[in-house]
């Protein structure tokens, strides 16, 4: 990959102690419970975790699709967390989102042209013949046939729809895109198409991605750094290769070991760490460390206090009592 080197001090986005709670009847669901990280300009930060770990909520809260309960979202030096909807509107051109479900993320009653053109209409970027030209340009950019702009979403395959979603996000020429599980609903052969497209676009347009997924192999492939979330908290964050070669947190270790590798020989000789039980409910998380109920290395102090988020090695953060 011919990627420009990333300036380690140029933070496009800084998240400080972000929390997002949902009130469900009498209970509080702590979907995101105190997450801090930075995203450097031009990099891809992968966020992995199992369903319910809060990774999608984190992505949506960063884009202010949900109002954060607490914490700061600093984008290019400006705190977004307290901005109103109308104050956010100009910033919507800077940050965009690509959604998981290519079937639910496109309005079935609108033509592909109107779906992509919506951003142009909202921000008054182009109209008339220029609008059409721009829509066709965006369609070609994501390798779709520009002549298909008058067709409806249901006429396209999953991969094609996902590319329509990418074209929509690109219409406003954003700097930052949250990719919320953009490939998990796609066939394997098509996943690579979408991932390669995202990489090409990043190179061409200098985009910064937050890539949310549960497929660790794909996250490893696309990300510069990877953060692992469990039950609303970030448990480990490190450079991609390092996280995979030397995972520190027991949860990361189990997660990596759970992934089957498409190689029969390796699979036959592999010992995996199989975690017992299920993820506890985020309505009622365990005391101390969230992971202790399933952790093969749990110690008495894990129940007493939540572990600190520490930089144990340069650029390698982990929240675990084993490293305190």
């Amino acid at each position: 990959m011919a990627k420009k080197p990333i300036d380690q001090n140029d933070n496009l986005l800084e998240i400080r102690d972000l929390k997002k709670y949902f009130q469900i009847g009498e209970n509080t669901l702590k979907a995101v419970d105190g997450v801090s990280f930075t995203i450097k300009r031009g990099e891809t930060l992968g966020i992995v975790g199992e369903s319910g770990c809060g990774k999608s909520t984190a992505g949506r809260t960063i884009l202010k699709l949900y109002d954060p309960t607490e914490g700061q979202i600093i984008f290019e030096g400006k705190d977004l967390s307290k901005l109103s909807n109308s104050e956010m509107k100009p910033l919507r051109r800077e940050m965009q989102m690509i959604f998981q479900d290519p079937y639910a993320s496109l309005n079935p009653r609108m033509t592909v042209g109107d779906i992509i053109g919506e951003a142009l209409d909202i921000h008054g970027l182009a109209s008339g013949a220029k609008r059409k030209e721009r829509i066709q340009e965006l369609l070609s950019l994501v390798s779709l046939n520009p002549e298909h702009m008058n067709r409806f979403p249901h006429e396209f395959s999953g991969g094609q729809r996902q590319r329509i979603g990418i074209a929509r996000a690109l219409a406003v020429e954003p700097k930052f895109i949250v990719c919320d599980e953009p490939i998990s609903a796609l066939d394997v052969s098509v996943q690579a198409q979408v991932v390669n497209l995202l990489e090409q676009l990043q190179e061409k347009m200098g985009l910064t991605y937050m890539f949310i997924a549960h497929d660790l192999s794909m996250v490893k492939y696309i990300s510069d750094r990877v953060g692992v979330m469990y039950l609303g908290k970030m448990v480990e964050l490190a450079e991609s290769d390092k996280l995979y070669s030397k995972p520190l947190h027991p949860y990361t270790q189990a997660l990596l070991s759970a992934i089957p590798i498409p190689d029969p020989e390796i699979e036959r000789n592999r010992e995996r760490i199989v975690l017992e039980g299920d993820v506890p409910s985020p309505m009622n998380p365990p005391s101390g460390c969230n992971f202790r109920t399933r952790c093969p290395k749990a110690m008495p102090e894990c129940a007493a206090a939540a572990p600190q988020w520490k930089e144990v090695e340069p650029n390698h953060f982990v929240a675990c009592h084993l490293y305190n």
């Binding site: 989102m97 959604f99 309005n107 409806f152 006429e155 094609q160 979603g165 219409a171």
Partner: protein, 305 residues
């Protein structure tokens, strides 16, 4: 088997664009719904009947040499004949013209009630579902309270206060009639606003109005139209029913309900006076309901393939 030669094994260049070609014909949602409706023979027959009914209701009273109010005591209670196709009533009025005149009233009531239900229901349900939370709670409880008042009581009260007539009947029907529509629309809104394409529009910076009218309303149209197609016949039937029990339009205005009412005592001797309005009420009801079913099947996305 064909003989294979070296020629056959020449590499060809593959145009990857070709692999992206879509071979199925392009169909918008509505074109697709119309296609499915056309395949439904029962619904199509019903639709043709209803169109004929509307056309006749408009033109027959205009073109006929008879009118609905001129009495002819010499020619009362006549059997159906070439001059009076459906016979005459006890005041010698032409039943044929009165039927079509009654159809006007029935259709007027049906469509007006449906239109008011549509407007009020969509706005009310739309606001409740779109904003949700406390607003939704308050609005829907109010609707529940209104819905709990016995319907006949409302009608009788209204008729005491206002003049009996078409306007009063429409008012009586719509006073609580919109609630069904509001519930449907609210349910749709609650469900649709969670969809990712709504989130996508929000992340593009779309405001409430845009989300509502570009995304939520167009996607609720299917259920709205289905509800509407069943509101019309129920309003027509309610009008006939109210007129039949004497709470509807008053003489000399003809409505299918009043005609059936007037024809009832004479059923034994002059059966056509009851038969014609009764048949028209039944067949129209049936046609509207069958057509409504057809529309439901046509726009129900679950049956899509």
């Amino acid at each position: 088997m064909q003989q294979l030669t070296k020629e056959h094994f020449q590499p060809i260049s593959v145009d990857l664009r070709q692999a992206e070609q879509i071979s199925r014909p392009s169909l918008s949602f509505w074109a697709d719904a119309w296609r499915r409706l056309k395949q439904n023979k029962v619904a199509m027959v019903s639709m043709i009947f209803l169109i004929a009914l509307i056309v006749c209701a408009i033109f027959v009273p205009m073109m006929s040499s008879n009118d609905y109010f001129t009495t002819d005591l010499a020619g009362k209670n006549k059997k159906p004949s070439a001059e009076h196709w459906f016979g005459t009533d006890d005041l010698g009025r032409d039943v044929f013209v009165r039927i079509w005149y009654g159809a006007r009233i029935s259709l007027e009531v049906g469509f007006a009630a449906a239109a008011i239900d549509l407007v009020v229901g969509v706005i009310y349900g739309g606001i409740a579902g779109f904003y949700g939370g406390k607003i939704d709670e308050a609005m829907m409880r109010f609707a529940d309270i209104l819905f709990a008042i016995p319907y006949l009581l409302v009608v009788i009260l209204l008729l005491v206060v206002f003049e009996p007539g078409v306007g009063t009947i429409i008012l009586a029907l719509t006073l609580t009639g919109w609630i069904g529509m509001a519930r449907i629309v609210r349910g749709q809104m609650l469900q649709l606003k969670q969809q990712e394409y709504v989130l996508a529009a929000r992340s593009l910076g779309a405001d409430d109005m845009r989300v509502l009218f570009k995304h939520l309303v167009p996607n609720s149209l299917g259920p709205i139209i289905v509800t509407l197609s069943l509101t019309v016949p129920s309003a027509i039937f309610a009008e006939s029913f109210l007129s039949f029990i004497g709470l509807g339009v008053s003489a000399p205005v003809a409505s299918w309900g009043t005609m059936a009412n007037e024809g009832l005592p004479a059923m034994k001797y002059y059966p056509w006076r009851l038969m014609f309005p009764a048949v028209f009420i039944s067949v129209t009801m049936l046609a509207f309901n069958l057509f409504g079913d057809g529309i439901r099947d046509a726009v129900d996305p679950r049956l899509r393939k």
